[in-house]
Every structure is written in C-alpha cells, then in structure tokens.
Amino acid sequence: MSYPAPLQEIIELSEHLPDPEKREVLISYAESAAQYEPTEGETFDLEDIRKDEECTDTVGIFLNVDDQGRASYKVELGAKVQTLTRAMTSILCRGLEGATLEEILQVPADFVPRIVGAELVRLRSQTVYYVLTRIKGAAKVQLNRLRAAS
C-alpha cells in the first residue's frame, strides 16, 4: 500500500531523523495544529464533534470533499489533548490533503511509529492513533453518503 504523496513525503523526511530531531519536528507539528482548526463561518460536508469515552477531550473532525473527490480535513482539539496527538493531527491534515476518501480509508497505521519513533509509541501515548481512526471514520461516513446519493 502506498501512502498519499504528501504523507509519504512526511514519512520519508521523518523516519531517518535521530530521536532528538524527531521530537523537534513533532513539537513543530504540534504547534502548527491550530492552523488546521476550522475558522469562523467555514462550512463542511461533514462535521463529527464528540468526546469519546477513551479520549481526554472533545475532538471535532471537519471534512470537505471537492467535486474532483479530493478530501480536505480540519480538526478541532480540546485543551487536554496530548502534544503527540496534536502533532499527529497536523501531520494527517497535511499528509491527507487532496487524497480521495478511498485512499484515506486504505492508509495503514504503520506509518505512525515511522514518523514518531518507537520510543514514543507506547503505553499512555496510544491516542496517537486516535485522530487517524476518527479521520477514517469521517471518510467512511461521507463515502457512504456519496454512494447513497448517487
């Protein structure tokens, strides 16, 4: 399975970095998560805002699909969400930009340790996978809607 090109690029840039530089890159991604929050008045094809029992705070997933079938995500994160999850949010919003819903549903989760490093993927940081799960969930719902409409 190949990844969407922007995500592939992030993986290739990150996976060979030594751990300290990986951390710096992740912090940078985490700090840029705010730029992927929806702005006032912005509208979406799908909005999925909820606080799941297994997550520390509310996470909102906002999806638009253009007439070429290309997806674009915005994500709103509550204040208690972990830094690593913020970083992964930025990575996914950037890395999946322009991919089709079918491509997004097929993205395997094995890229996470390649970007984050095995040391950080461990007990109490498993929410790093959470945003991907939510993004895929939104893609599936929207794909079903589009198929039903056609």
């Binding site: 700090e31 705070d57 830094t83 007990l123 929410t127």
Partner: protein, 289 residues
C-alpha cells in the same frame, strides 16, 4: 495560605508552592524535575532550568518490568546534575501523578531530599509563571551508586499484596469507581491498556486518587485528607497499607498523600497494580462491591 496549609501536613517539607519554586529558580542546590504523562509536554516549554525525567525511558528498566537498578539511578542523577545533597523538586501534568511516581522511585534509592510542587505544571502555567524551552546544559555530577534499591519499605510486589489480602490488611484501590466495580476495563478518558478482567483485589476499598486533589491540581488540606482517609476509610497511623491503581502512577499520588501529607508510617505502592493482578492466572478478584 500555602504556609498555613503546608504546616498542617505531617511532613510539611515534602511539598512546596509554585511561588517557592519561582523564588528558587536560581538556587544551585535545587534541581527542578518535570515528569509527565504527555511525552512531549516538557519540550513545549517548562519551568526555567527544569530537567525532564521520563517515567518510561529514565525510571523503568528497558527489558524487565521493573525500575532501573542502582547503576541506572546513579547514571540518571549524574546526568541531571544531581548530588545526594541536591534538593529535587518534582512537578508534572495530571495533578502530579507522574511527579509523585518519580518522587516515589527516588525514595526507593534513598534520595530523601525531595519535594513535590503543589498543583504541578497546570497550576504553574495557569498562574502565568515563566516557562522556556531551554534544556539546561548541566555539568554532570558523580552521584554515588546507592548500595541497594529498597523494594521492601514502600513497594509491594504481587506476593506481598497476596499476603496482605490473606491477612485482611487495608488496601486502597485508587482507580475510578467504574474500574473498581468492574464495569469498565479502561481508565476514564483513556484507551484500553491490556487489562483482561474488570474488578478489584478482594478486600480493597475504593477511594479514587482524585478525592485527594482540588480542581487546580493542588492537594487538599490536611483536615480534608483526614476526613477522607482517616475518618472515611478508617485508616490509621499504625496501619499497614497497600495502594494500587493500574500501573502504579495514580497510586503514587495516593501513596504520597498517605505517607507524607498524613504521615502514615507503613504505606506501600503496589506498582504491578491491576495490569498485573487482574491479568495473572489464578488471581482472585471481586466485582460490583
């Protein structure tokens, strides 16, 4: 307020205020240590001069489910510019779960010159106190290797806990009520962490760690803590107490409360906790009590 509050604790010196820490930022005899659950939180900004001690990377052995040995502790302290005379002040996220855990591990090695910052990281930040991203460039020290790690006085293993159960001695389950009752097998607001069964150790009383904390992450007053543990749970100074949670971090918080703030003499943290007890073949559990 803090002076009055702290002086009522059994060991007032074990706790310091955020103001005290800010007043001692330039004090070379003090090493401020941040310990978090959020692995990257320190990197986003921390108390100026603070070092980062990570519970998994720095305190846990990497191949055995155990803590570092005496050589590992020597290396950790030396790397962070700590000597036996250094006052180590711990703080962190999650109302100080992991800083209490780190404090507890330091006690296993006899580094008694240690304190916890009341309110932890969240209070420091909410009060608008300074933070920076500079990782201090500290001259390494030569911390003497401790003669041993004291796994007897403040730590309970599975066998100790089983003996405790059979003897009917007091045990405190500090997890959430749902975990205690066996209604859920994950912590509230966390994913599943490999627990196979829900419930609690037979005979354990439920008293969630959070009952000892205020909303701002500070510890409750001595009177409030006595109402919870002494009057509510019936625990006394002479009791032999074991506290547990899921992997030992929430129970470190309660251990700190019982041992240092209330001054109970014999309090042990069962760090194997529910992940070990609930999953072990042959272990009895109770539900729905």
């Amino acid at each position: 307020m803090s002076d009055d509050k702290f002086s009522a604790y059994a060991n007032p010196d074990a706790l310091v205020s955020t103001q005290w820490v800010e007043d001692h930022l330039k004090d070379d005899s003090i090493r401020i240590v941040e310990s978090n659950e959020d692995l990257l939180l320190y990197d986003t900004g921390h108390v100026p001069g603070a070092v980062h001690i990570d519970w998994r990377r720095d305190l846990n052995d990497q191949t055995v489910r155990d803590y570092v040995g005496t050589a590992g502790f020597k290396e950790l302290c030396s790397r962070n510019g700590i000597t036996p005379e250094t006052t180590v002040v711990f703080y962190g996220d999650k109302s100080n779960w992991w800083s209490c855990y780190a404090f507890w591990v330091f006690q296993l090695f006899g580094h008694t010159n240690a304190k916890v910052m009341d309110g932890g990281r969240d209070l420091w930040v909410s009060e608008g106190r300074p933070t920076d991203k500079i990782v201090p460039d500290l001259a390494a020290t030569d911390y003497p290797e401790p003669a041993s790690r004291d796994d007897i006085g403040i730590r309970a293993f599975h066998a100790d806990t089983m003996a405790h159960l059979k003897a009917g001695l007091p045990m405190v389950d500090v997890r959430s009520p749902g975990e205690y009752k066996g209604e859920v097998t994950h912590m509230p607001e966390y994913p599943q962490e490999g627990v196979l069964r829900g419930g609690h150790i037979p005979g354990a009383k439920s008293c969630p760690w959070s009952t000892a904390a205020n909303d701002d992450g500070t510890f409750k007053t001595a009177d409030e803590l006595r109402a919870i543990y002494t009057e509510g749970l019936g625990l006394g100074n002479a009791d032999n107490i074991v506290a547990y949670c899921r992997i030992g971090e929430r129970s470190s918080h309660t251990w700190f409360v019982l041992k240092y703030l209330l001054g109970y003499k014999t309090v042990r943290n069962y760090d194997g906790s529910w992940v070990e007890w609930g999953n072990m073949v042959g272990n009895p559990i109770e539900k729905d009590c």
